[in-house]
Symmetry: C2
Subunit: 158 residues, 2 copies
């Protein structure tokens, strides 16, 4: 897709921030780019990165993700199931997609929308709180699961 553009953005942000481009970081970035619309946990990313760089340590993955998050290149999400998920930020500005979490099968979908702008303006006007970021998670049943409920649901809660 626009993978090359994203990779360029990440590499130049690293250079500009005086961070080194190590093979470990390259490997992690590739995994992130290859899974731009998955919602990988640190452990997932670690396992996948091992394919291209078997000697990488889990701590390095965490440190890389933290760095990229601080540079605004990666977004960290929390689904309340005790582990963080990561994905590359697709734009330099805000991201306007929300997550649809199926409480039956655990699948995570996405929904693009900017209706929240309205809410954020209302908040600024009413309370003086200035919103810079948001996280909207919607729980419910995905299309697949609407017929066959009550299956052995995985432990996903908010």
């Amino acid at each position: 897709m626009q993978k090359q553009k994203l990779r360029d953005r990440i590499y130049s942000a690293l250079r500009e921030g005086d961070h080194r481009l190590t093979p470990q970081r390259e490997a992690v970035v590739e995994v992130l780019l290859d899974n731009a619309d998955a919602h990988l946990s640190a452990e997932n990313i670690f396992m996948q990165t091992k394919h291209n760089y078997p000697d990488i340590g889990l701590a390095t993955v965490y440190r890389t993700l933290e760095l990229l998050e601080n540079l605004g290149l990666v977004h960290r999400f929390d689904y309340g199931d005790g582990q963080s998920r990561y994905e590359v930020s697709l734009t330099a500005e805000g991201h306007y997609h929300h997550h649809l979490i199926c409480v039956n099968c655990g699948e995570i979908g996405e929904f693009k929308d900017d209706l929240l702008d309205e809410i954020e303006e209302k908040i600024a006007a009413d309370t003086g709180f200035v919103v810079t970021d948001h996280c909207l998670r919607l729980f419910g049943l995905c299309q697949k699961c609407q017929g066959e409920q009550d299956k052995p649901a995985e432990p996903i809660d908010k």
Copy 2:
């Protein structure tokens, strides 16, 4: 406020579910009722409960919160700072308040609104995903912090 009504609802739900009303559970419920609009962590609740029931164990607090959550009497939130927050559900049905989290001082405010209904309808129409619950967290700067940023943020402890 309507504390007595909430307490009654909790007590009868416990009875109906064949759960025992122990002094520990009573003590935890009182703390929850006294802090209906705070956003307490399990540790916070544990400490506060100790005032009225010094011998209570942290595990009991967790078990009580889990029970109340399963009964729909308490809502659990996750702000991504690694610990869950709890608050009594004020109504039997859905709750329509969102959380304003100040990234500077950590204060958590609330904002009541039902604009999300619109988004949820749109999602059902577009994707077939049926939303049953949601969690919206808004990050930014509270009014107090807008002048004096970059302060040494406190580790949120009420």
